[in-house]
């Protein structure tokens, strides 16, 4: 439980009205600058004095970053589009209902009115040791407080840990990876496009970051190609309560069938590893098979190969197995 303090320490706030101005500020202030989107992750860090940047660049006044528009190949969602605007967008709902559903699974109504899709995918991990300001690996230290047998690690990794065992908590991220979305990132005048599955960075690559975004970078938009539009995409999230909680695990599975068999599949889980994870072994195992109970059962069994649970999160192994199984067998919930 966070200690409640009086006010946020003094920081220099900028509210640019164009992306160019924001990028110029980010270039000028480098690692002293903090990108502020919906602010829901940000303000907790500031109130707790755990992150203390000198400059805050609030993107709220840049209208162009909030647009959701149809393109020649799908939909382009501005990084500052709120979760509610993604949920209510007619194009998203008709073409990618699983994306709308995963956005609706995130957080509470108040947060969905303010939190952005860019913030949802780029949010930091919820590991409480790290959030409370312990000098762990992720905070630049040389220890993980969550991995020892006596630690509180019920919500942590069962896959892909490397020193740090914190998980990525996003609900929209696995769906975007399954849909083969692309992230448009700008830095000064140069733009690069990163595949969603390459956007997330695990601790083996950089233990202090969750995504490829570096100081000076700005996530501009998310392109969702029409490849998986109107396809069978299943999203399910499991949390301790029926609403308003981070995932213990979630799954997003896109499947295309042809002649009664699975022609192509993308199976992605999150909340179980430092990044959303594409289960390529599962995808290979089910491709060419009929979509039925047996294939789903097999997929579940393949999904848990190589898991390494901690003291208190062994339940996530069966949870993930069953989620993967259901994502292939059952009809989408959206």
């Amino acid at each position: 439980m966070a200690v409640i303090r009086d006010v946020i320490p003094q920081l220099e706030l900028f509210q640019p009205s164009s992306a160019d101005d924001a990028l110029a500020l980010l270039a000028e202030h480098g690692s002293d600058a903090w990108v502020y989107a919906g602010g829901l992750d940000t303000l907790d860090w500031f109130k707790d004095r755990v992150k203390r940047p000198r400059v805050v660049v609030d993107l709220g006044g840049i209208d162009s970053l909030r647009e959701i528009r149809s393109t020649s190949d799908g939909i382009e969602i501005g990084a500052m589009a709120t979760l509610i605007s993604v949920i209510n967008n007619p194009e998203v709902r008709s073409q990618f209902p699983a994306l709308a559903y995963s956005a609706k699974s995130a957080a509470s109504p108040q947060i969905r009115y303010q939190g952005t899709i860019g913030g949802n995918i780029a949010q930091d991990t919820r590991c409480w040791y790290y959030r409370d300001g312990w000098t762990c690996y992720r905070a630049g230290g040389n220890i993980c407080y969550a991995s020892p047998p006596t630690a509180m690690n019920r919500e942590h990794c069962i896959l892909g840990a490397s020193r740090c065992v914190a998980v990525n908590p996003s609900d929209t991220a696995p769906t975007l990876v399954a849909l083969e979305a692309e992230m448009v990132v700008r830095r000064g005048n140069s733009e690069r496009v990163v595949a969603a599955e390459d956007f997330f960075v695990g601790p083996e690559i950089d233990i202090e970051r969750m995504t490829v975004l570096e100081p000076g970078d700005l996530l501009m938009s998310i392109r969702v190609p029409s490849k998986w539009a109107s396809a069978r995409v299943y999203f399910e999230k499991v949390r301790d309560r029926d609403s308003w909680d981070f995932p213990l695990a979630n799954v997003a599975t896109a499947i295309r069938e042809n002649g009664g068999n699975i022609e192509e599949a993308r199976v992605v889980v999150n909340g179980v590893a430092p990044t959303p994870v594409r289960l390529t072994a599962v995808e290979s195992a089910i491709t060419g098979q009929p979509r039925n109970e047996q294939t789903a059962e097999q997929a579940g069994n393949v999904s848990i190969q190589g898991v390494a649970p901690l003291t208190h999160n062994g339940y996530k192994v069966n949870l993930m197995k069953n989620l993967v199984k259901r994502s292939i067998r059952d009809e989408p919930l959206a």
Partner: protein, 214 residues
């Protein structure tokens, strides 16, 4: 401790000034002072002579609160719930967790529910903010949800009440005929530690009835 507070309140009441009224008065006086300091500095030519970088924020801003235009001096990193309570004296908005978790600070911004504790005051410039004080009609008519809470005795301690009421107003603006389940889902971002959820939901259903004119 509690006895001291009671005595203080009684003593002040005898003098015709309640403790709460006194504190609010002190807040208003200090806000006026800060504003005149700012203006004086501006007239002196020092503050205005600086040309701010693109997007740099000024401290003296105009907010639209409950239909009124309010000039206030706001530090860059102040949250809306802090400004409402401690600069404008609108103490109906409560601060519970101050971490976007409990919903006690819920206010409406352009009709949408937001956690006031997790919104910078500077980011609501040009937008319409409604707090619990702005719900009542000019003739004293209560909002249907306020009326329903009275009728159904919706809350026990009621610390979370303003937030629940504001979020229910947002719900009824979207949907005047919610099911109990839909209402529960909409209010999932508001927590009540007395666990009065059943009575709260009964109040919401009654408020929907009143809104529909049933």
């Amino acid at each position: 401790m509690s006895q001291e507070i009671i005595e203080l309140t009684e003593e002040s009441a005898e003098q015709g000034v309640s403790r709460r009224g006194f504190i609010k008065g002190a807040i208003a006086a200090s806000a006026a002072v800060s504003s005149s300091n700012y203006l004086f500095r501006g007239n002196g030519g020092t503050a205005l002579a600086q040309s701010p970088a693109a997007g740099a924020v000024e401290r003296l801003i105009t907010l639209n609160i409950n239909g009124r235009s309010r000039r206030v001096q706001v530090p860059p990193m102040e949250t809306l719930s802090t400004t409402l309570r401690y600069t404008l004296g609108l103490t109906g908005t409560k601060i519970g967790c101050d971490r976007a978790e409990c919903g006690a600070c819920t206010v409406l911004v352009d009709g949408e529910p937001h956690y006031g504790c997790s919104l910078l005051t500077h980011s609501v410039r040009g937008r319409e903010v409604t707090s619990i004080e702005g719900l009542e009609g000019e003739d004293g008519t209560l909002h249907p949800m306020q009326q329903a809470v009275l009728e159904e005795q919706g809350f026990q301690c009621a610390f979370c009440m303003s937030g629940f009421i504001m979020n229910t107003v947002a719900l009824l603006n979207e949907n005047q005929n919610p099911t109990r389940k839909e209402a529960a889902e909409w209010l999932s971002g508001n927590l009540c530690r007395c666990a009065d959820y059943d009575k709260i939901l009964t109040s919401v259903m009654r408020a929907a009835e009143i809104t529909r004119g049933a």
